[in-house]
């Protein structure tokens, strides 16, 4: 028996790693090599030349005399070299990049937000590569659209992992994230989601799952601190989209926990053409303030328009969704006076750099959700650098010990922190309150700097 196979042997983990990681790759490489040799032997002259070019053998080898029909031996030799080169360069191409898988609802209702997330991630990758990549390797994004369908989301994550993603970013609805995180956990692949849902990381026991968006309950907590106990009877309005319901539930629970009476709770149907009955119900209940946790832009804009048309003037305290500039165009001046929780602080220089980058790269102004994607990539880059390798378990270990990582989101002076018991990286007091004035997003009014 070899002297390495005993309990507690330091060689055992290495052997195990060799068997699980290296051996399959070697078998795959050998298979690839064999199939390439067979392909070369069976192919015609023109295809053989193409293979040679791909193999980057050097122009000298491609001279006519080398490939002359008379020089069969040299041709075979060149062929063998070419396959070796294909194998080596192919292997190097695989290993030379750090692959970050991105799954999200890049079509349908959520695309308005996920597109911004994706652009933020793409900008971060560009910045990283311009600065030399991660561990000397270029960073590559692999993007998959899950169509906002939880079942598809899990399959897409599996595909991304099979394609070599070492880490994953998820920009989808809570339902999709809850499905795909199980696949990521089984593959020991760290995953960061930019979701606001309270259930994503707080209700599941997956040490590979991290969340960087400010949860709806954190947004509400800041809104309540801002209101400083002025309200006792409030109304709550949301929409019936998956994320809207999730945010609404967090708001409802938080308001009740804060001892407030919800005198009217209304839901707007996605695709609604009028919100008058819901608003009348709110008016009939005569609340002191209205909390808005709707996330669907068209229906929320309709809510604000009908609200003003009915002449209502209760104070409105809204989720971070209202930070979208789309509202200022869709319901001009009808959001004036609305207070909302925001996850970005315009005073922050890091945020300005991201917004400028978006304008430079994508030729349009930033809309507000790009920092989620940007910070997700940068958090991974930081963890991978500290891990010193692409070992997924090591990356997870580094990610979970991240402390006060300053990104472009979060209030000035504070950053993301994770721990084994706290996988929501957004700090509890990192949300700010802003108000809309003269059809523009006003400065931060809470907390005061």
């Amino acid at each position: 028996m070899l002297p390495v196979f005993y309990k507690g042997s330091p060689y055992l983990p290495k052997i195990s790693k060799f068997l699980t990681n290296c051996l399959p790759k070697m078998i795959h490489g050998f298979y690839k090599f064999s199939s390439d040799v067979l392909r070369y032997a069976r192919s015609g002259r023109r295809t053989q030349r193409k293979l040679m070019i791909c193999a980057i053998l050097g122009r000298a080898m491609m001279r006519k005399e080398v490939f002359s029909r008379r020089c069969a031996a040299a041709r075979r030799l060149a062929g063998a070299f070419s396959f070796l080169a294909i194998l080596l360069t192919g292997a190097r191409a695989d290993d030379a990049t750090v692959k970050i898988g991105v799954v999200g609802a890049f079509s349908g209702n959520s695309y308005y937000y996920t597109k911004q997330n994706l652009e933020g991630a793409q900008l971060a990758v560009k910045d990283l590569n311009a600065a030399g990549g991660i561990l000397g390797r270029r960073v590559e994004l692999l993007v998959e659209d899950d169509q906002d369908r939880p079942d598809v989301s899990a399959t897409k994550v599996l595909k991304l992992i099979d394609e070599g993603s070492v880490v994953l970013l998820s920009f989808g609805s809570t339902a999709s994230v809850l499905q795909n995180q199980r696949v990521a956990m089984e593959a020991h692949t760290p995953e960061i989601c930019g979701n606001y849902g309270d259930t994503v990381t707080t209700k599941i026991n997956n040490p590979f799952m991290f969340q960087i968006g400010a949860t709806a309950s954190e947004q509400l907590a800041t809104l309540l601190k801002f209101a400083s106990g002025k309200y006792h009877k409030v109304a709550l309005i949301t929409d019936d989209s998956a994320t809207g319901q999730d945010t609404g539930k967090a708001f409802r629970d938080g308001l009740k926990e804060a001892g407030m009476e919800i005198v009217a709770e209304q839901t707007v149907e996605v695709g609604a053409t009028d919100v008058t009955p819901q608003l009348q119900r709110i008016r009939a209940a005569n609340p002191e303030a209205v909390f808005n946790s709707g996330v669907s832009v068209a229906e929320n804009a309709l809510f604000f328009r009908n609200y003003r048309q009915l002449g209502l003037s209760y104070p409105i305290l809204a989720s971070g969704n209202v930070a979208s500039p789309a509202y200022l165009e869709l319901a001009p001046h009808m959001l004036d006076g609305v207070y909302y929780a925001d996850i970005i602080d315009p005073r922050k220089p890091q945020l300005k750099a991201v917004f400028d980058g978006v304008q430079r790269e994508f030729k349009h102004p930033a809309l507000g959700w790009e920092p989620v994607g940007y910070d997700g990539v940068m958090l991974f880059a930081n963890a991978i650098k500290r891990a010193g390798s692409l070992d997924k378990d090591k990356i997870q270990q580094e990610l979970i010990t991240t402390k006060n990582f300053i990104g472009s989101e979060v209030i000035e002076g504070e950053g993301y922190s994770f721990s084994p018991t706290q996988r929501v990286g957004f700090p509890a007091d990192g949300v700010v309150i802003r108000a809309i004035e003269n059809n523009q997003h006003g400065p931060v009014i809470y907390p005061k700097s």
Partner: protein, 314 residues
Amino acid sequence: VQSHLLREEPNNLSAKKEKNLADFFDLLVSVSESGCIYGLVALAFLVIIKPTGIVNFCIGEWSMLGGLIGVSWVVQAALPYGVALPATVISCALVAYAIERLFVRPLVERAAPMLSPVLVLLGLMIVTRETAGWIYGISNIFAPPPFGFTPIAIGPFHAAPQTMLIVAMTLTIFLSAWIFFEKTLWGKAFQAVAINRFAAGLMGINLGRVTALSFAASGAIAGLAGLLESPQTSAYYLVGLPLAVKGFSALVIGGVGKVEGALYGGLLLAFAENFTVRYLPIPSGVALGMPLLLIILFLILRPTGLVGNEGEAR
């Protein structure tokens, strides 16, 4: 800032009664607006179903196109609304006509089963939606109302000018459709094709032309509905499907027998939606499902719809 947050509300009984009455009238305005839009979409369904029997769920996407094309005429081309409106309607009619010629007629001419064009049009629904998202972008686009947002008071009713425009246009369209079907020879031809397509063909009615015209008219009506609705909800590429579902529900309630059924169905659906949410003492989310319950009840109690004749096949 926080000192402004607390609002004082009048709390006496007469003021409350007045408010309740005002709410009722506001709700009627809201019902008429939503009901007219649902009615127009239902009419767009009806115009195709009558002569061909094809249920075309692509109609919602034609409405969506109406909103987007209308916005591009009004905002980008800076055309006056009076010009943009017919331009949009004609554009949508041409799109619908092209779809009929390219995708539906070949199937009808090859005597394909009735489900084939329905499936083709379902596929086109997705293609149209995604193409519109690609061309116009995925963001909601603000559609400026031609007469502003400020409500106008007519007696006890307070309505935005756009609501009045929607009601006026809908009544005009329904009146025109009624005259067309009941008083013109072409309308009679449509009716004849609806009763017996084969026999109508033997009588010399050009079936291809009737089908093409029905698609073009449906596209025009759906496009108009989308254009009229866009200042209320904004124009964007995902607005089509919910409108199609509402329009089809209105048609089921109203019945396919007569033109006015589509309008009655739309108004009844909007009435059920608004009044259940406002007055039923149940959670708002549950109240949103009540109109669907109404449809089920309606189908059981009166399967031919509001204006359908007894024994008429739907």
